[in-house]
Subunit: 523 residues, 2 copies
């Protein structure tokens, strides 16, 4: 964002926070000049120097992910735990070489993906446990290596960023159609390692479902699963590496299931005067077998802030519906979905039901659906602007069964509201659904509050702690698609079955006996 945009944003949030936000001021744009880093503790052997970078810029760039904490500290030019070395392997054998060096020299190896972690997944303080930290950045391995048109699948290197990958698929009329909010700055390998959530609000929600096979370099050998459309041969090998967050190996490539580019689209923005009936409508939709591509519920504040839709009554909700197909028109599906929402009191304003075939790509780009989509992609940039204004901006997300959602929503809102008024003197929390399943939604909460200069991280920690406890107490998961990292670790360990945790630790010890892979994460 430009300085002018930040100043304007700052004015807007001051107005909304009232007196508690009076002190907020835009800070200057961050710069790398003057940043000082601890000297590197280790340096790569001659055989690896051509792949490795040790300059301040590279080390600072790879010191953090993109969480609120990360952004605040970067603005403060605080980098207490920068990596000592950043390795850019250009082929798989170089990944093997880097891991060999790390294992031999007791250096922690942290796969970076695109560095979009919002959960402390890429920052490691080795203390006395490791001699140093080497970050692996695979963005030089970004090619689509092979396309199987008849099976609609492609072999893709793990370092490909979202747009890089889609650019290579487009000429073939194909698309992975996985668009996490971090799409522009995250990699296929990162999506796989963190079980990223994407474009489809129903059915193919996680990257897991789009994965045909994976190739993973572990310190004790390369694991390559067979390309299979389905299998029942023992526990799924891929499912062990999906979500392993760099703790079991470095993903180097994967065969991914692709989609034909959609020809027909339909969308609608449905207004509800009551949040609870909107939730009911979405529940029925999720169980209808219609499988809308988009099925996002936004509370009234969320609709205003994140989609700029101002006609949702206070206490009500906006439901953004979308259907798409490369095979058949979607009007019937959309209309049946709108029968369901209408039966729950949902209203579609004039012009908010859109349909298109190939000739008219505007469906889904106008009205509430279009507003939501545009703002969804801009949100991370807006967040960074808010941080510059001194605003505490946190999002957390979960999934829970339908029977427990109402209580979860109430307790999380009440708990976070309480912490905000006590700790920040104000602020607000909003809720939307990012994905929905027949047995429950994936609610996503956004928190904005005025920070006190210098105290922001402690204030954030109070909010995070309270919110996480509320999620766990309500029977929900500590994360639906943001991953675990180091920030969610305490709750993750309480959430997962204890025997499973032991099994996973044993699996890690078998694959990574030196314990160098992303220490402190997952296993």
């Amino acid at each position: 964002m430009t300085d002018e945009q930040v100043a304007s944003l700052c004015g807007a949030v001051r107005d909304r926070f009232g007196p508690a936000g009076d002190h907020l001021e835009p800070a200057p744009a961050p710069a790398l000049a003057g940043v000082e880093l601890r000297p590197p503790r280790v340096s790569p052997p001659d055989s690896l120097t051509s792949l490795c970078r040790g300059d301040i810029y590279e080390r600072a760039l790879h010191a953090y992910g993109r969480s609120y904490r990360d952004v605040v500290r970067a603005y403060r030019r605080e980098f207490p735990h920068p990596p000592d070395v950043v390795a850019y392997p250009t082929r798989e054998s170089e990944v093997v070489d880097v891991l060999d060096w790390c294992a031999g020299a007791n250096i922690a190896a942290v796969p970076f993906g695109g560095g979009s972690s919002v959960v402390g997944g890429v920052e490691y303080d080795p203390g006395d446990a490791h001699a140093g930290v080497c970050v692996l950045d695979l963005t030089a391995m970004d090619r689509v290596l092979e396309i199987d048109r008849s099976s609609r699948a492609a072999r893709i290197q793990a370092g490909a960023l979202g747009p890089v990958l889609e650019d290579q698929l487009r000429p073939h009329g194909l698309t992975l159609r996985h668009f996490p909010q971090s799409f522009e700055v995250s990699t296929l390998g990162g999506w796989l390692a963190t079980r990223s959530g994407g474009h489809f609000a129903t059915l193919y929600t996680h990257i897991d479902d789009l994965t045909e096979s994976m190739r993973v370099v572990t310190p004790t050998g390369i694991s390559e699963s067979r390309r299979l459309p389905g299998s029942g041969a023992g526990p799924s090998p891929d499912r062990m590496f999906l979500g392993s967050e760099g703790a079991l190996g470095v993903i180097t490539e994967a065969w991914m299931r692709l989609q034909d580019r959609p020809r027909w689209k339909g969308s609608a923005g449905v207004r509800f005067s009551e949040f609870a009936t909107a939730v009911d409508a979405v529940r029925v939709l999720s169980q209808s077998g219609l499988f809308p591509t988009n099925c996002r519920l936004l509370d009234a504040t969320e609709a205003l802030i994140s989609a700029g839709v101002g006609d949702v009554p206070a206490g009500g909700a906006l439901v953004v519906l979308g259907f798409e197909s490369a095979d058949h028109p979607v009007a019937e599906l959309l209309d049946r979905a709108l029968e369901i929402t209408a039966a729950h009191g949902g209203v579609v304003p004039e012009g908010e039901r859109k349909l298109s075939d190939e000739g008219d790509p505007s469906a889904g780009r106008e009205g509430a659906a279009g507003a939501w989509r545009g703002s969804f992609i801009r949100a991370p940039y807006t967040r960074d602007g808010l941080v510059r204004c001194g605003v505490i901006a946190e999002t957390f997300e979960t999934a829970v069964t339908w029977d427990r959602f109402s209580e979860l929503h109430a307790t999380v809102t009440e708990t976070v509201d309480g912490v905000l008024s006590k700790v920040c003197g104000g602020g607000w929390i909003t809720c939307r659904f990012t994905h929905v399943y027949p047995d429950g939604p994936a609610p996503y909460f956004s928190v904005l509050a005025p920070g006190r200069p210098g105290d922001e991280l402690a204030m954030w920690a109070d909010v995070k702690q309270a919110a996480s406890e509320a999620l766990l107490a309500a029977g929900a998961t500590i994360t639906h698609h943001h991953a675990v990292g180091r920030d969610h670790d305490p709750w993750y360990r309480r959430q997962r079955p204890e025997p499973f945790g032991r099994a996973l630790a044993a699996a890690k010890a078998a694959l990574d006996p030196a314990g160098i892979l992303n220490p402190g994460v997952i296993a």
Copy 2:
């Protein structure tokens, strides 16, 4: 089958095999009288005697699954490795007690499910490795314990057989809708442990997809995953136990995702004059996003034998399509599917396109679709009759990407044909698809051949060996839904990534340090 039915069946197959089948004669129905078993090597402690059975009937009944080898040996009254004890726990604490006893006394603990394993999953020869074998039969734990109507989920004990489970769901208007061929004689726990394949030909193919959470007794603690509609918190705990085939723990209950009972159904039987174009049609269907409930392709011989449909040209195929919904009419979906099949030359005979709503439940019960369904459920019984006639009857199944299917089909057919003519002097192999995915089908092969009395098992082993090698060489999986057991073990170990195998073995050692759980299977 009655003696008369078997005699009639025997005549029919003799006619079809020609001279190679002249010697086939129906054997007398099997009886338990005269069966002798090795004396039990171990007996349960006093605290467990009320749960345990050691009589010949129970031990013989739990000595085998239902594979061809098992049925042949049972007819011969050969039971070389019967369990020493059969335990019928009635509650979870008794499962814990049985495993404690087994771990302390070095007794192998083999979970039995319903005993429908066709891959040697429940027969264990302890040799000197274990003091004895205790089979756990959980069919006394068969209750639906809890129903969450709004999330459409139920907590169900693992010992429930298919019909027992559905009977308890029906009054609530709900159904698990998982109908493996073994439905009547297999349990929920068995389905979960073996990643069973069910009713849905697309989308929810394996029981995995219907699983919300699981509770598993391991020798070192109880693992219970959280009920969640979706999660991204590390590798999925459930996916480690799904497919673990009793090697990691005994599943005692699970929260399962349910369906509303369908109100609208539609079906059609489409004839193709060429097998290859039928395959193309099914590939396009699988990638259309229409998600038919049924989408089975049968080659001409398979159509005749297994569905009694005689009007499919030699070298052609029958595609059985079905749609169902509890929410909306399915005529549009069926018609779009039939446009796709017609574009590939598929023909629907007069009266073979059926639609019904609540008032007419006959759709899917008549025509080719109905014939296929009826015969699908009777097939295991027919197989047992064939074995009584001396026929070698084997089925094996796999999954493979679309680009490799044609070669797989050719090499498997040629390989097995070659073995049959060399070893059996005749016989035939047929192919159908049980499930289809956007990136490939799950082909299922049936083999029938005249056996030489006394040599059947050696002949079967030759066929099995050749078929399994052909599957692996073609890039397919050794099993899509029959599981691994002991029969597929050599190929399973070659198929799975070596590092994953080590990780799984380490996980097992952590959960089952005494190595008592279903030894020799999976881990």
